[in-house]
């Protein structure tokens, strides 16, 4: 911790403690995101501060016995610090993006509140949205129904356009939480078919139907992992021509090696064989080789079938 950080915190802490007389040490520590020990250390510094002059009456008064004993803070004699400092530009910009995230995730009054709060912040700080966030949240109505189902502990049937298998499914789930990770929103829900937690992308949920049954309590929904989902055992290595090196930006690569000849070797985790087939079909002859040998056979079979099907309809070209 630098002195600057501590000074900034103390300058906010004085008006906070004035506005919340008798607040608990634990509550105050949580509000400032610090440990109780650090909070008491902060109070010990504040206790030495005040309108300089050196006379005892000039200093900020804190009942340190109550703070360390009962865990309750009383602060007085600090009228000159009645309001917090203005926001720095970085604070304002960071909070404005976070409000965009909340607005994108919510509907109705909460969304309106996120927008109006952002507007007030802009006015007070003179900052605007320098970071633009666009979240794939899917349909408002879907999100609204899911939020209601979560609040009412209701079971639902989703119409889900699964990407990995490239087809629409209709899973019955107990929805638990709507999470957003890096500009994509997901539903965490208990899948009755799998008897396990499953993650669904909100923008692929086409419809939600509330079912008669109440959902069961499956405990807390798991947090989404940081970064790419990677819970599969399967792995392939795909060697790509130089022009296809963009692939690593869009697909969950476990490892990337740039070869001296300009080609790229990318290791992918493969949870669904159909996912790999779709990738190989998409990349066509930009793929040089796939390891293990034979991993591309299903894609080849699919290519062959597509060609045959097209030729049946339109004649051989």
């Amino acid at each position: 911790m630098t002195s600057q950080e501590q000074v900034a915190r103390l300058l906010a802490m004085v008006p906070y403690l004035r506005a919340n007389p008798g607040v608990g040490v634990a509550t105050a520590a949580e509000a400032f995101g610090i440990t109780r020990k650090q909070l008491v250390a902060d109070l010990n510094v504040l206790w030495m501060c005040g309108l300089p002059g050196g006379l005892p009456d000039d200093l900020i008064e804190i009942d340190m016995d109550a703070a360390t004993g009962e865990g309750i803070i009383h602060l007085s004699n600090a009228d000159y610090l009645s309001r917090p400092m203005r926001f720095t530009a970085d604070e304002a910009v960071s909070l404005l993006v976070a409000l965009q995230a909340v607005a994108e995730m919510t509907t109705g009054p909460s969304r309106a509140a996120a927008r109006s709060a952002a507007e007030k912040l802009s006015q007070v700080t003179g900052q605007q949205d320098l970071i633009w966030l666009s979240v794939s949240t899917g349909d408002d109505r879907v999100r609204e129904t899911l939020a209601a189902a979560i609040a009412g502990h209701q079971r639902v049937r989703l119409t889900y356009d699964g990407a990995a298998r490239g087809r629409t499914t209709y899973p019955e789930v107990d929805p638990a939480e709507i999470q957003m990770r890096d500009s994509i929103a997901y539903l965490q829900a208990w899948s009755l078919e799998r008897q396990d937690w499953r993650t669904y992308r909100l923008d692929r949920i086409v419809d939600v139907v509330l079912l008669e049954q109440r959902g069961e309590d499956h405990g807390a929904a798991p947090e989404l992992p940081d970064g790419w989902f990677d819970n599969s055992d399967g792995e392939v290595t795909v060697d790509l021509v130089a022009e296809a090196s963009w692939v690593v930006d869009y697909y969950p690569a476990r490892g990337v090696v740039r070869n001296p000849d300009g080609s790229t070797s990318v290791r992918f985790a493969v949870a669904e064989p159909a996912w790999l087939d779709a990738l190989l079909l998409r990349l066509g002859d930009q793929v040089l080789t796939v390891t293990p040998t034979g991993a591309g056979e299903a894609a080849a079979a699919a290519a062959r079938e597509t060609i045959e099907r097209t030729e049946i309809l339109f004649g051989a070209s």
Binding site: V45, P84, D90
Partner: protein
């Protein structure tokens, strides 16, 4: 030591904030206890550094003189209205979403900023309590190393220089950062090409160096920026007609409209008119394999077939029959 410095900086702030008039250096030295015992040289150095620290924190330390016509020693003050957060009232609902907003950022560099901002709001009497929104967990983190330096430079309106796509050195004025589809982009004015450009943060290699003074450019207004971002993004403007097997290829089906097929289709297939991006159409259609057949235009159909023969050339030489694939 750190505690003593904090104490000195807080006391200096309180002194300059409490005085309406400029406080002369001598008076500051005499009043703030920690300065009193320092030698002249030591005091000057410490005081200069302290002033810089306060200004770096955004505390507006003003320099000036109380006597307009006398060249006396400069004094210092902090004007209360420049220092204090202006009055702001938030409704209960707004306080609630602010509480949730404070939990959004995951990476420490930005999370610290939102936490400090929330602490200030609490100090202004706002009580952010997100507990009613507990079914929501929006989390945001940006993995690319270029994000922090670009964000800071953008806020300061400073020109930056970085290496793009492993080679080219680019000099740009950062206008906006755009987070979309798990990717991060920079919308900026490219000083070498004298035109707006979009850069993908994951393709910025190595350090981002800032140069030139802050406030060295003024970005266009939001409407113009929105137009640039729109122009530079991928557009779907290529009309095609596809036969899609029912329940399959949902990403294409949902975007399209059912259409009467110009020819008789195999059972289970229906014709859709879909708008795609011309550059991606072939690869996207090919990725669905036999679930999607191009009906129109004929050139696209030929291009997809050629693409699929490429797949066969890479993966299909070893075996003539497709049985092996179906065993999987």
């Amino acid at each position: 030591m750190a505690a003593r410095k904090t104490e000195r900086l807080v006391n200096l702030t309180i002194l300059l904030l409490s005085s309406r008039r400029y406080v002369p250096r001598a008076k500051i030295r005499e009043t703030v206890e920690a300065y009193r015992d320092l030698s002249d040289e030591n005091f000057n150095r410490t005081f200069e550094r302290d002033k810089d620290d306060l200004r770096a924190m955004g505390i507006p330390v003003e320099t000036g003189s109380n006597e307009r016509f006398f060249d006396d020693e400069p004094g210092y003050r902090i004007v209360r209205t420049d220092f204090e957060l202006p009055p702001c009232e938030f409704t209960g609902e707004e306080a609630m979403v602010l509480g949730l907003a404070a939990t959004v950022w995951q990476q420490a560099s930005v999370a610290d900023q939102t936490r400090q901002a929330l602490a200030k709001l609490r100090a202004a009497g706002v009580d952010p309590d997100p507990s009613r929104l507990r079914a929501l967990a929006p989390r945001l983190s940006v993995r690319e190393a270029a994000f922090d330096p670009l964000r800071e430079a953008m806020i300061e309106r400073q020109t930056v220089r970085f290496t793009y796509k492993g080679g080219q050195q680019r000099t740009v004025q950062p206008w906006r950062l755009v987070l979309r589809n798990s990717n991060s982009y920079l919308l900026a004015f490219d000083c070498d090409r004298q035109a707006p450009r979009i850069f993908k943060l994951s393709r910025i290699a190595g350090a981002v160096s800032r140069f030139g003074p802050p406030d060295s450019f003024v970005p266009p207004d939001n409407e113009a920026l929105g137009d640039y971002a729109e122009q530079l993004s991928i557009k779907s403007d290529f009309d095609v007609v596809l036969a899609i097997r029912s329940e399959r290829a949902p990403a294409l089906r949902r975007r399209g409209e059912l259409e009467h097929s110009p020819i008789e289709l195999p059972s289970g297939f229906e014709a859709y008119r879909v708008r795609l991006n011309q550059n991606n159409a072939v690869a996207e259609i090919a990725s669905y394999g036999p679930d999607v057949i191009v009906l129109e235009p004929a050139e696209l159909r030929a291009a997809v077939l050629a693409h699929l023969r490429g797949v066969l050339a890479v993966h299909g030489e070893a075996r003539e029959l497709s049985e092996t694939g179906e065993q999987r």
